[in-house]
């Protein structure tokens, strides 16, 4: 990995005695990466980002952000942030929002002016720049929020559910903007539920479950070890159903799914089927989508079992 932009170890956060939002999270994000953090609601994704941005104080944390110890505010000048459930002060207009927050990030006046115009254009809001932000629709707020996060031309951008509330075109625009950012060498840290999107844009993902990293790796790595073979047969499986289940097969009509990369086990199952005179139509290895990996990580069981649970 290239030099780490985020390098944290053992981050813990308790809210009161009962809520353990994070239980020892360690992460490394390299420069220029698009990193996706996923996890179910309440897993601690937003809390982790807020700790990196000094909005929440960790119970315990070690590590660095842009090379400086966690908790320093200095590096924040190089960071952009789109929070979840974004709101802007009611007394500011769109353009003023951008310029105000950029000023707080120490961007000089002339640069603020120019970038505000550019970014409004880029998020498709140029005709709304002089409308009070309190009159924006949810998706318009989100667009302005993304523009806001880029006003200081950050090295590292945190986006907490960036496509929340956006229409399909808006989502595509966001994907293009992210691609553009990485082209310019920026690092993107993304929290999202929309797995298909993460699949499209992330280099690496971590799956956070109940405050702990349950899986981590590139999309290819994550989906590779969760291969399933799908065997379709002609006719019924009545005679062999019990035997098939015993060998870990999951029956769905006239198809059988077998979790795992163990080709030998699949062959044995085929032998059983053949022995019983079942006509096999096809055997296909299926790579699982991120969603399947996600479900598996959350339920903490094998892919097959997760599939079962879904059914």
């Amino acid at each position: 990995m290239k030099d780490a932009v985020i390098d944290i170890r053992n981050v813990r956060k308790d809210f009161g005695r009962k809520v353990h939002a994070l239980r020892g999270v360690s992460l490394r994000v390299g420069a220029g990466e698009v990193f996706g953090l996923l996890g179910p609601n309440g897993a601690g994704k937003s809390t982790l980002v807020k700790i990196l941005l000094t909005i929440v104080r960790p119970t315990q944390a070690e590590g660095t952000l842009l090379g400086q110890p966690l908790g320093r505010r200095g590096p924040l000048a190089q960071v952009g942030y789109l929070p979840e459930n974004l709101r802007f002060p009611a007394h500011l207009r769109g353009r003023q929002v951008l310029e105000h927050y950029a000023a707080l990030a120490k961007v000089p006046r002339a640069v603020r002016r120019r970038r505000a115009a550019e970014l409004l254009e880029r998020v498709g809001m140029s005709s709304w720049g002089d409308t009070p932000a309190s009159r924006y629709s949810k998706g318009m707020l989100q667009r302005l929020g993304i523009a806001q996060a880029l006003m200081n031309d950050p090295k590292l951008v945190f986006l907490d559910e960036p496509t929340d509330g956006l229409d399909p075109l808006g989502r595509r625009d966001v994907r293009h903007m992210l691609a553009d950012l990485t082209k310019r060498g920026k690092t993107v840290f993304l929290n999202s539920h929309i797995l298909s999107e993460l699949e499209m844009i992330c280099d690496r993902v971590s799956i956070l479950v109940q405050g702990q990293v349950a899986r981590e790796g590139t999309i290819a790595q994550l989906t590779e070890h969760s291969v399933t073979y799908r065997i379709t047969v002609a006719g019924g499986l009545d005679g062999v159903a019990a035997e098939v289940r015993k060998r870990g097969g999951v029956i769905d009509g006239n198809a059988i799914s077998v979790a795992g990369r163990d080709a030998a086990a699949v062959n044995q199952l085929i032998d059983v089927l053949r022995g019983a005179g079942v006509l096999i139509e096809s055997v296909t290895p299926q790579r699982f989508s991120l969603e399947d990996v996600f479900v598996e990580a959350v339920h903490g069981r094998g892919v097959g079992a997760a599939l079962e649970a879904e059914r």
Partner: protein
């Protein structure tokens, strides 16, 4: 740092102008100044609407030093106790009560805190911004009434302008409570209600002391006088601001201290009042203001500490 501080102040200013209450109070100021400008004085008469009416006022002559002093006293009373002390102050408290809660709303505070600014700077400059809001209103009010007094009544008392900082000071004694409650609860309503209660708690003991001291039967009760006196001595000393304002207003002019009582009270009572007045005014304004500011700093410090430590 300069860019950031300037941005915070400018934002506070924009927020103020966005408040309807700001314009309500400014309009009230203009109305009051206009009404005052319609009044003028002749010996033993008060003239309304440039001579349309002449109201006889036996023994009152605002063209003499004595009369001017009386008018000035009434103005100070009006500004510090009646107008700002009650209505204006209430409106200002309402107008500013949501500055902190709205800044701390979820989804809004996150963006601000993700910027490279220390939290205490955010907090303090928001505070200064709120005071600037009141300073603006106070300047408008005192400045306009000062001009009307000078131009229409020929009463030029530069010390009267000291009412501007004193108004802001008086406001800040109450506002610190509003900020504290706002930061603790993030609720505008709680901030308004509790700061009004606190204000009552400031105002009641000195007022009670006044009553007790002017009523001979109560005055005889030493324990009562001492207890109320003690309560009244606890900072912040909102009541002192009146005295300090009238003292400063008349400083450097030949205008007497409390002359209006001279008409209505028996001589021995008058003498007692003047004595009390003297002792109060002799009481060090620096002590009164200093101890009150100390109290304010304590409350603001606690609120700031909480703001800097809490999670959002």
């Amino acid at each position: 740092m300069g860019t950031q501080l300037w941005a915070i102040l400018r934002d506070g200013f924009r927020e103020s102008l966005d408040r309807k209450m700001f314009w309500v109070v400014a309009t009230m100021t203009l109305l009051i100044a206009a009404v005052m400008a319609c009044i003028s004085f002749e010996p033993d008469k008060i003239v309304l609407l440039f001579g349309m009416w002449r109201i006889p006022a036996e023994g009152f002559d605002a063209t003499t030093e004595m009369g001017k002093s009386q008018v000035l006293s009434v103005m100070i009373q009006f500004v510090m106790s009646t107008l700002l002390g009650w209505i204006g102050m209430m409106l200002m408290i309402i107008a500013t009560a949501d500055f902190y809660p709205s800044m701390m709303e979820r989804g809004a505070i996150d963006v601000v805190l993700s910027k490279p600014i220390p939290r205490w700077v955010l907090f303090l400059f928001k505070y200064l911004g709120s005071l600037a809001f009141v300073l603006l209103q106070a300047t408008l009010f005192v400045g306009l009434t000062f001009l009307v007094m000078g131009l229409r009544w020929n009463i030029w008392a530069p010390g009267y302008l000291m009412a501007i900082p004193l108004m802001v000071l008086l406001f800040s004694y109450i506002y610190c409570i509003s900020v504290y409650v706002g930061v603790m609860t993030r609720s505008t309503v709680a901030a308004i209600l509790i700061s009004i209660c606190a204000w009552a708690a400031y105002v009641v003991p000195p007022a009670a002391l006044e009553v007790v001291e002017s009523e001979p039967s109560l005055r005889a009760n030493q324990a009562l006088v001492r207890a109320i006196g003690f309560a009244a001595a606890i900072p912040p000393k909102t009541a002192d601001i009146d005295y300090i304002a009238s003292r400063w207003a008349k400083a450097g002019t030949s205008l007497d201290l409390m002359p209006q009582q001279q008409m209505t009270l028996p001589p021995e009572e008058m003498e007692r009042l003047r004595e009390r007045e003297r002792s109060k005014i002799a009481a060090n304004p620096a002590y009164s203001i200093g101890s009150s500011l100390l109290f304010e700093a304590l409350v603001v410090g606690l609120a700031m500490w909480r703001f800097c430590r809490r999670d959002f």
